[in-house]
């Protein structure tokens, strides 16, 4: 019985992620519009967008290889799996022993590599520029994320995300200096990895500055829909990693249906706050020149390393 319940929580988690991720993107856009004194689009706008794109026909470059056609599905699959591994609603997940924090970062890297390869596949100047920049950001952001996760796993003595969330929930409320550093680093990584403002601007197609959009230029129809959906799933996943480490309370741990149901509104509140904060950061900061991005990311990396170092120094 308990077993079935775990599988049910796993399925519920993935379904919630699929539905909530575009809503989260819509919410962030809405908050951003309010903060910038614009009239905001509906929160359902990303969902409508996906629906429209799925109905459209795919227009593909003549020489696109089969790698290009596989890539949207692979990236979408990677992001679903990521949302299944991260404890968003429950910490009793059948998938959690399959992949720990290191494998999760590996999964994001796999998605990134396929994204970069597919952009190079068409062979336009923008595609290869985008993939170069994406890999460039990735090579600094990925280690920083891993170091953030290591800081948490040194405290909880486990690299499994569900164990980390479980362990941190049950500790007395205390401020861990290493986690403070890790928190700063994580915020910076989140901005960089999700193509948010100081690093990239999701609202522009200005060719000199775009990174994420350059990778999607040749996608259309259902491919573009899958990529957009995957991008919002990624944002959702990153925010949920942050919740699992920095505010793990409210994630159902006992195999109790009521706790599971309660965890959904808790998650919604957390996402609302997180999304609003993201919009505030985006509104308050200006986009960096691409040459300044390495400094931004090395800062994140340094913070994450400092977090680990502080853990060794203070033992907490």
């Amino acid at each position: 019985m308990n077993h079935y319940f775990e599988f049910f929580s796993q399925a519920l988690e993935i379904i919630v992620a699929l539905v909530a991720a575009p809503l989260l993107t819509g919410w962030v856009n809405q908050c951003r519009a309010w903060l910038q004194n614009k009239s905001a689009p509906s929160m359902l706008q990303p969902h409508r967008m996906l629906h429209k794109l799925f109905h459209k026909e795919v227009v593909m470059a003549e020489h696109a290889s089969s790698l290009f056609r596989m890539e949207p599905y692979i990236i979408f699959g990677c992001m679903i799996l990521a949302c299944g591994i991260i404890p968003t609603l429950s910490t009793r997940l059948p998938l959690s022993p399959a992949a720990d924090a290191i494998a999760l970062v590996g999964l994001f890297a796999l998605g990134r590599v396929f994204l970069a390869l597919a952009a190079m596949d068409i062979g336009t100047a923008f595609g290869s520029m985008g993939s170069r920049r994406e890999m460039f950001i990735g090579f600094l952001a990925e280690p920083a994320l891993l170091m953030v996760l290591f800081s948490a796993s040194l405290i909880t003595n486990s690299t499994s995300l569900t164990n980390i969330a479980d362990n941190l929930t049950h500790r007395p409320l205390a401020i861990y200096p290493s986690l403070a550093f890790a928190g700063i680093a994580f915020t910076m990584v989140l901005l960089a990895e999700n193509a948010r403002v100081p690093v990239d601007n999701p609202a522009t197609h200005l060719e000199l500055t775009m990174i994420h959009e350059a990778l999607l230029l040749e996608h259309s129809g259902r491919y573009l829909a899958l990529m957009e959906w995957a991008a919002s799933l990624k944002l959702f996943a990153y925010l949920c990693i942050g919740f699992a480490i920095f505010s793990p309370w409210g994630i159902a741990e006992a195999g109790h249906p009521l706790a599971l149901i309660l965890s959904i509104p808790v998650l919604a509140v957390k996402l609302a706050v997180g999304g609003a904060m993201l919009a505030a950061i985006e509104t308050a900061s200006a986009k960096l020149r691409i040459f300044r991005v390495p400094e931004f990311l090395s800062m994140a990396f340094l913070m994450a390393v400092l977090g680990m170092l502080v853990h060794f120094l203070l033992g907490a």
């Binding site: 799925f54 593909m60 799996l81 022993p97 390869l117 336009t124 993939s131 090579f139 680990m308 060794f312």
Partner: protein, 669 residues
């Protein structure tokens, strides 16, 4: 027949390789026969040897005395779990490379295929002999013969001066290494005069001499493995050699150096000092970071892979360094974990790097081009090369679910355990060391995107690429074999871990086998505490299920219509294949960030140039920092010594006479 034990079968396989080589020499004029009959035979022997190695890992230690060699100096051979494991890897690699060679070698090489066949199989036989050697004499003989045959293989296309130079460089550095090894064995055998490994194991050296032996062996084996700063031959020899030879060298000749370090440190010397571990760890990390940064800026595809090999050797060495650290503090369980990671990486690197080098071989044969800037779009013309290369590239990038990820995972797990070290200074360094490891991992993915993307994706940068033909049937067999190896290492790490448990028990006295066995065949765990786990099979199944479900649902609920048209490219009307990123362009951000790693000379066009051109040359800094000064000093010393030479016999007689007088004077004192 009834009395043959496992080690006899291995000796038979080695003899078989030698016989095959000689057979190739006999049929030297029949290139097709040599290629398509004799090389596959060698490949079949490779499968045989790999199987024997697999059995040997689970078998007890076997020793034997061979009535060969000089009178009174018989060959001692011994098969233990360490040598069996390396034989297993050798078997896997040599099979793939031999099948590929069957389709690769033809009349175009400067050396006849029959001669290459002899050198290649002798090299394989020497490596196998090296692994089962049980005295310093056999070991050094096999070692030197391996270097010699490998040198001849590197200079297979000897009409090219650059190739001869690369061969010379390899030979030179191999000999610097061999010199260190002879000294090393000299110290080990000096006390007792017994040069058998059994005798060496029995003696107890004091810490001073043990340290000298350790560092000499690090130099000697490091020269073969490509550890900083003795890596300099790799980026020259790999592009010069024919691709199957590069594959063999990168996959296994380098690993003999790793084997030597393991044999020397954990088997022949008993005690370990934490300082050795610290230095090895630092050296490994420096090698890894340097290798990966330099490989991002390379423009020659084989040179790129050569630097990537340096990186991987660095990672393996870092694992060994950590093992020495743990084992010097008596923490056998953690030592076993990091050693498992290092040994796992030996196998997975052997599989994916040989696959990638073979891929470059097919590209080279079909386009005649090694320069990344003149390749592109080959995925459409060479799918049978591109897909295996993609598997190799993903594995080399350390991405799940392939083998490269598992070794990185294990290595990171062993770093995360480190807070237990009693030395607080080392504990402080661990975050920085971990940071370097993850940075190297991320950069490796960058390199592999560059490698695969520029060669196989996009538009062909030259018109002639449109006529590229795909790999032949033998080459495809070689690819398939290694692709299966890459996937198996990635998906069945639990079986590998059980195998490695036997090896680590021999070397450090503990293993992760018990923990892994308790978890079942799906679950890879670093220890029994349940702190971490990874299930590659489940991971892949769920990932594939998600992809397939997404595909089916999208096509069912909506539609599957698609239309082909020109690329959009932001609506720019004119774009050519030349507007794609070149290899230089793709490496530019890294060049920007890691400027201090290279020696760059750049030439920018001025605004008034009629025919503007841009030139950049990136050089390995060790040439100007270390090697050129050494070469200049050597040249200076020999020019001074040359003053003594006149070519007249009377003068030489005078020298002899004066020497004699001097010596008599000394004796008289």
């Amino acid at each position: 027949m009834a009395n043959l034990i496992l080690i006899d079968y291995i000796l038979i396989a080695i003899a078989g390789w030698i016989a095959i080589g000689v057979f190739g020499l006999v049929k030297i004029r029949q290139t097709d026969f040599v290629a398509q009959v004799i090389f596959p035979l060698g490949g079949v022997l490779g499968i045989f040897l790999g199987t024997l190695g697999l059995i040997g890992v689970f078998a007890p230690v076997q020793t034997e005395l061979l009535p060969l060699g000089l009178p009174g100096l018989p060959f001692h051979v011994r098969l233990d779990t360490l040598s069996s494991y390396f034989l297993f890897v050798l078997g896997i690699v040599s099979t793939g490379v031999s099948f590929f060679s069957a389709g690769y070698f033809n009349k175009e090489e400067d050396t006849p295929a029959g001669l290459i066949c002899l050198e290649y199989h002798l090299c394989l036989a020497c490596m196998a002999m090296l692994l089962i050697a049980d005295d310093a004499y056999v070991f050094m003989m096999a070692w030197e013969l391996m270097s010699l045959t490998a040198t001849f293989l590197v200079i297979a296309n000897h009409r090219d001066a650059e190739v001869r130079y690369a061969g010379f460089l390899y030979f030179l550095i191999a000999h610097v290494g061999a010199l260190a090894l002879v000294l090393c064995f000299g110290i080990l055998g000096a006390n007792t005069g017994d040069y058998t490994f059994a005798g060496i194991r029995l003696q107890q050296l004091n810490m001073f001499w043990a340290s000298i032996v350790f560092f000499l062996s690090l130099i000697g084996f490091g020269a073969k493995a490509g550890i900083l700063p003795l890596h300099i031959w790799l980026p020259e020899a790999h592009p010069a050699a024919p691709s199957p030879i590069s594959a063999l060298m990168s996959a296994f000749v380098l690993k003999t150096g790793i084997y030597g370090i393991l044999r020397m440190t954990f088997d022949l010397l008993h005690t370990q000092d934490w300082k050795w571990g610290g230095i090895t760890l630092a050296l490994g990390l420096a090698t890894a970071l340097f290798g990966v940064v330099l490989s991002t800026v390379q423009t020659d595809m084989k040179r790129l892979l050569a630097y990537s090999s340096i990186e991987n050797i660095g990672l393996i060495l870092a694992g060994i360094g950590l093992t020495i650290l743990f084992s010097s503090y008596g923490m056998a369980g953690l030592a076993a974990l990091s050693l498992t990671a290092a040994l796992f990486h030996v196998a997975s690197h052997a599989a994916f790097k040989s696959l990638l080098f073979l891929g470059t071989g097919s590209v080279l044969h079909s386009t005649g081009e090694r320069n990344l800037g003149r390749l592109g779009g080959l995925m459409r013309f060479m799918p049978w090369t591109a897909w295996p290369a993609l598997v190799g590239a993903l594995a080399a990038g350390g991405l799940p679910p392939f083998g490269g990820f598992v070794s990185e995972w294990l290595l990171l797990q062993s770093f995360l355990f480190t807070p237990g070290l009693p030395n607080s200074f080392l504990n402080m360094l661990i975050p920085i060391v971990t940071a370097v490891i993850v940075l190297v991992g991320a950069l490796a993915a960058y390199v592999m995107v560059k490698f695969f993307g520029i060669i196989f994706l996009g538009q062909p940068r030259e018109r002639k690429l449109n006529e590229a033909h795909d790999a032949g049937i033998w080459e495809r067999m070689g690819f398939s074999w290694l692709v299966v190896a890459c996937i198996c290492f990635g998906l069945l790490p639990v079986h590998m871990a059980r195998m490695l448990d036997r090896v680590t028990h021999l070397l450090v006295g503990d293993g992760i086998g018990a923990a892994v066995t308790a978890g079942g065949w799906l679950l890879l765990v670093p220890d029994t505490s349940g702190r971490a786990s990874y299930m590659p099979v489940v991971f892949v199944m769920v990932l594939l299920a998600c992809c397939v479900l997404a595909y089916v649902i999208v096509h069912r609920v909506y539609h599957g219509r698609s239309r082909r048209s020109g690329p959009w490219a932001c609506g720019f009307p004119f774009w050519t294949a030349r507007m794609q990123d070149t290899a230089e362009g793709f490496g530019q951000p890294i060049r920007h960030v890691f400027g201090m790693f290279f020696r760059m000379t750049r030439k920018l066009p001025s605004e008034f140039d009629k025919k503007p051109y841009y030139e950049i040359k990136v050089e390995d800094p060790f040439w100007s920092l270390l090697y050129r000064p050494i070469a200049a000093t050597a040249g200076f010393v020999s020019s001074v010594a040359g003053l003594l030479q006149h070519g007249r016999i009377a003068v030489y007689l005078l020298y002899s006479f004066l020497t004699l007088m001097f010596l008599l004077l000394v004796i008289n004192q």
